[in-house]
């Protein structure tokens, strides 16, 4: 009897889970991981001249390089967002905010993934004013001044979108907000590696997005606890 009651309760909890927001998606233990590389010749990243903003220039011993096609040893691609674009059950945004910094007249991180509805906090750590101007098209476009010492800007996005971010005062500053419908995403480091963990068994579409070369997708099926390896290769153009 007690056992039956427990099972009933567990069943009720499961039903409740399905319809409630704010709870994490059903956890699994399958994973998809791999590497993002390029073929061809990527453009040369150029040193950024920050002499017009001495307070930033002096923070960098060597010039900061542009980051639109950042590469690593072994023809790897950095700052590629790899995420589940189909097959993932809707996962509510986590309560933890993501943090975006303006430091040394650079955006840190260069590419910031977040979930739809997740809080985003934007900080100005510099001794100069920045205007933070995310050029959204699907979401509302706004543009705010954030002088040195201002409190963080708290915001969020309601729809998935790849949003270029710029500072009009310092035209070399470029970054991306990547607003996703999934909690399963990964940004490649200099080694080009990505890993999507905690997936329930199922059939997924995995998409890799690079700011200059766009998106490509692969369909992957994983069983419970299975680890699958897939790789992405972008065709690099020198311009």
């Amino acid at each position: 009897m007690t056992k039956k009651l427990l099972m009933l309760l567990a069943g009720a909890a499961l039903v409740g889970n399905g319809g409630m927001a704010g709870l994490p998606a059903p956890a699994g233990n399958a994973s998809i991981s791999g590497k993002v590389t390029y073929t061809g010749t990527p453009p040369k990243m150029k040193p950024i001249d920050m002499s017009k903003e001495p307070s930033c220039a002096k923070q960098h011993a060597t010039p900061v390089m542009t980051e639109n096609v950042a590469t690593g040893a072994g023809d790897t691609l950095e700052y590629v967002v790899v995420y589940i674009s189909a097959g993932d059950s809707d996962s509510a945004a986590p309560t933890a905010a993501v943090r975006y910094d303006q430091k040394g007249c650079q955006y840190l991180p260069h590419v910031l993934p977040m979930q739809v509805g997740q809080n985003l906090q934007i900080y100005n750590d510099d001794q100069t004013s920045h205007n933070i101007h995310p050029l959204a098209k699907v979401n509302p476009e706004w543009n705010k001044s954030q002088p040195a010492g201002s409190p963080a800007i708290d915001t969020k996005y309601d729809k998935p979108e790849f949003i270029p971010v710029k500072c009009n005062i310092h035209p070399w500053m470029h970054g991306y907000f990547v607003v996703l419908n999934t909690s399963h995403y990964s940004v490649t480091g200099q080694d080009g590696a990505f890993s999507l963990k905690g997936l329930p068994a199922g059939k997924y579409t995995v998409t890799a997005w690079q700011e200059q070369y766009g998106s490509q997708s692969q369909d992957v099926t994983v069983g419970a606890g299975e680890s699958k390896a897939i790789n992405f290769t972008f065709k690099a153009l020198p311009y």
């Binding site: 017009k52 001794q127 101007h133 543009n143 001044s145 954030q146 035209p171």
Partner: protein, 300 residues
């Protein structure tokens, strides 16, 4: 060739010209409907409310075809036949991003804001004042403009900025405004003397990557979004969306904002109380005035 034949040739020629003219204007005589899957407001039911006027999108659609389509285009995306010759470019209504708002940056404007923009026109652009249209016609146009973006079906306009009563114009107010002009780094784009020639001016682009110039205070009397002190207050507090001009609403306190308005007036070549006070002050205190810009004490 007889005189009569010649006449026939001419007549045919004129007829041909007429047909050609009619065809080319026909190319943009039809207003397209947005893709219904976008969820844009219904033209048959969308309205606007300006004071006690109610504008109707269905009426506005006919007016749009007559007065607006040439620049703003049959799809409302700012790509009309004339657009290629125009700088700054006509507004793209499908983005629902508007320059002159009383509402916070990133939010939809009030109907009244759009009505004011149509009525006022935009100085230094090809958008004339549509004051010759009746208030009802302008209200109808506002209603129709809102049928181009799904945002108008899903979102409410932002809450209008509250502007407190103007503080007295004093030299202290102007001097404090000048400190803000330095501290907020307005000069980075607008230049130390407000001539639109700051260090970042040359690289500015709007949100569609077209080059854009910061306002040069010395050239004229009018701003894009109005000409009164209240308008100036509103412009820098809510920002000019779609351009590099950000909103300062989160970082300038209301009382301080009036000080900045008073200082900005001294940058214009106009007979204002602000300019008079400033000239008198400069004549007496020239040596005490620190320059604005990167070399100013307290600057970076």
């Amino acid at each position: 060739m007889t005189i009569k034949n010649l006449f026939v040739v001419f007549a045919l020629g004129f007829a041909g010209l007429f047909v050609a003219g009619a065809t080319s204007s026909f190319a943009q005589s039809h207003v397209n409907s947005p893709d219904p899957s976008l969820g844009t407001p219904n033209v048959a039911t969308e309205t606007s409310h300006i004071g006690n006027l109610t504008g109707h999108a269905e009426e506005g659609k006919h007016l749009y075809r007559r007065y607006c389509i040439g620049c703003h285009g049959p799809d409302g995306d700012g790509d009309g036949m004339n657009a290629q010759w125009i700088d700054p470019k006509p507004r793209d209504f499908t983005q629902a991003t508007f320059k002159c708002r009383s509402t916070p940056t990133g939010t939809l404007p009030l109907d009244q804001d759009l009505y004011n923009a149509i009525t006022r026109g935009f100085v230094n652009s090809n958008m004339p004042s549509w004051n010759p249209l009746t208030p009802q016609q302008r209200a109808d146009l506002v209603a129709f403009i809102k049928t181009w973006s799904p945002r108008w079906a899903k979102e409410q306009p932002g809450t209008a900025l509250q502007i407190p009563p103007e503080t007295p114009v004093t030299i202290d107010s102007i001097l404090h405004g000048r400190e803000l002009f330095q501290k907020m780094e307005c000069w980075k784009c607008h230049g130390p003397a407000g001539h639109g020639d700051g260090p970042s001016a040359a690289t500015l682009t709007d949100s569609k990557d077209n080059p854009i110039r910061p306002y040069n205070f010395s050239t004229g009397t009018r701003f894009k979004c109005g000409e009164t002190n209240q308008d100036v207050y509103r412009i820098f507090m809510t920002g000019v969306d779609g351009t590099p001009m950000p909103s300062f609403a989160d970082v300038i306190k209301p009382a301080d904002a009036w000080d900045l308005v008073h200082f900005l007036r001294t940058l214009q070549d106009m007979d204002t109380k602000e300019a008079e006070l400033w000239k008198t002050y400069v004549a007496a205190h020239r040596a005490d005035i620190k320059p604005i810009g990167p070399d100013a004490a307290g600057g970076q």
